[in-house]
């Protein structure tokens, strides 16, 4: 069986209007993939940047997969939230990106979006906070049912991911 190591960091996020941000991340794979070591999901620390506007998380990712097929290549998905001084959390954006498919170190910038509600909900969000959230988390990384949504852009999540592949050349896979 071929093996894939996904090792890297969720470095941080930039371009969001709020400043104290944290991120809940997860990885989704197809049925042919099996996670041998590592945690499949997590949540980063909350960072309030003093210099510049980029929030830094430096959250490590270390995953070891064994795979029997190329279908269902892993996808990382994110939910970026902001936390105010009272401890209340508000959604800042959803985003996903595929894990790169060529070995080596890659810098990824993942754009995010957040659902807009009706004009009343948008007005309430500006004053009181809150706002609509997705009921099912898999809409973040799947295309089905997206046509029902009306969204606005959020900021960008920055990652540095390195990929180590093992025995891919035995099966004739070029990447």
């Amino acid at each position: 069986m071929a093996e894939v190591h996904v090792i890297g960091q969720i470095m941080g996020a930039s371009g969001f209007s709020e400043s104290s941000l944290f991120c809940k991340w997860g990885i989704h794979t197809g049925a042919a993939w099996k996670l041998l070591s590592g945690v499949r999901e997590g949540q980063t620390q909350v960072d309030t940047p003093q210099i510049g506007e980029m929030a830094y998380w430096s959250h490590p990712i270390d995953l070891h997969f064994a795979t029997k097929g190329l279908q269902g290549w892993p996808r990382l998905h994110f939910q970026v939230w902001s936390q105010d001084s009272f401890g209340r959390c508000q959604l800042a954006g959803y985003g996903f990106c595929h894990v790169p498919s060529s070995p080596g170190t890659h810098q990824l910038a993942c754009p995010t979006w957040r659902p807009l509600g009706s004009w009343q909900e948008q007005l309430a969000r500006a004053f009181v906070g809150g706002g609509p959230q997705l009921l099912h988390g898999d809409t973040i990384y799947s295309g089905a049912d997206r046509y029902r949504l009306h969204t606005a852009a959020g900021g960008t999540v920055h990652l540095e991911i390195s990929l180590l592949l093992r025995h891919f050349d035995r099966y004739g896979v070029e990447c």
Binding site: G12, S20, D47, T48, S58, D62
Partner: protein, 204 residues
């Protein structure tokens, strides 16, 4: 004579903790240590170290330079748990106590060659204003009991931090027998400069 196929690969890292950018603080020293998984073991070199205390230069660059060497070799059977270097930077506060100015961590680069990494440094922050004032006054700031927690993902959901500086590291990486074991680490990233893009005003 048949050559036995290796079961262990080696990772040799050398380099330096080059410099730091902390606009608000001066007279800093740093400590580094390596965090790695269960399948890894250091075979040569030093796993941790403490640098000298450095002050900002008088010229317009305001540079904080350590030029502190790193030299370690690991052996392993599994890339899971790839070593990370954890840095902690300390300096004096206004009353003269030694307080933490930042923690940061980064994975040792994977592909052989020369790599430059600039990592953000952050400190834990207390949530209540009274706690913030008391810790400033008493000189006992919130810090991690074990800096190695910065290299892990679990248990960080409840921490609030403030990022307040950057440290630049240089690595030269050599691996042995990774290709024989079937691992493909991709193209060598010689002279690669990576890491978060620094905000305007900081020298590259």
């Amino acid at each position: 004579m048949t050559t036995a196929s290796p079961s262990v690969f080696l990772l040799m890292v050398n380099g330096q903790v080059e410099s730091a950018q902390f606009p608000e603080y001066d007279d800093l020293y740093c400590k580094y240590c390596f965090v790695y998984g269960q399948d890894w073991a250091p075979t040569a070199g030093l796993e941790e170290g403490i640098s000298q205390i450095t002050s900002k230069s008088q010229d317009v660059r305001q540079a904080l330079v350590w030029n502190f060497p790193i030299d370690v070799t690991f052996k392993s059977t599994n890339p899971y748990g790839w070593p990370q270097i954890v840095l902690s930077v300390y300096g004096p506060d206004v009353f003269g106590n030694d307080v933490v100015r930042g923690y940061g961590a980064v994975h040792v680069p994977f592909s052989p060659g020369r790599h430059k990494r600039t990592i953000p440094m952050f400190v834990p922050e207390s949530t209540s204003k009274l706690q913030k004032f008391t810790s400033w006054f008493m000189g006992r700031r919130p810090e991690y009991t074990d800096p190695k927690v910065v290299a892990q993902g679990e248990g960080r959901e409840v921490t609030r931090v403030r990022s307040q500086g950057f440290v630049t590291l240089l690595f030269n990486v050599v691996t042995k027998d990774m290709r024989k074991l079937g691992y493909d680490t991709g193209p060598a990233d010689t002279q690669g400069v990576s890491g978060p893009s620094l905000p305007q005003g900081f020298p590259q």
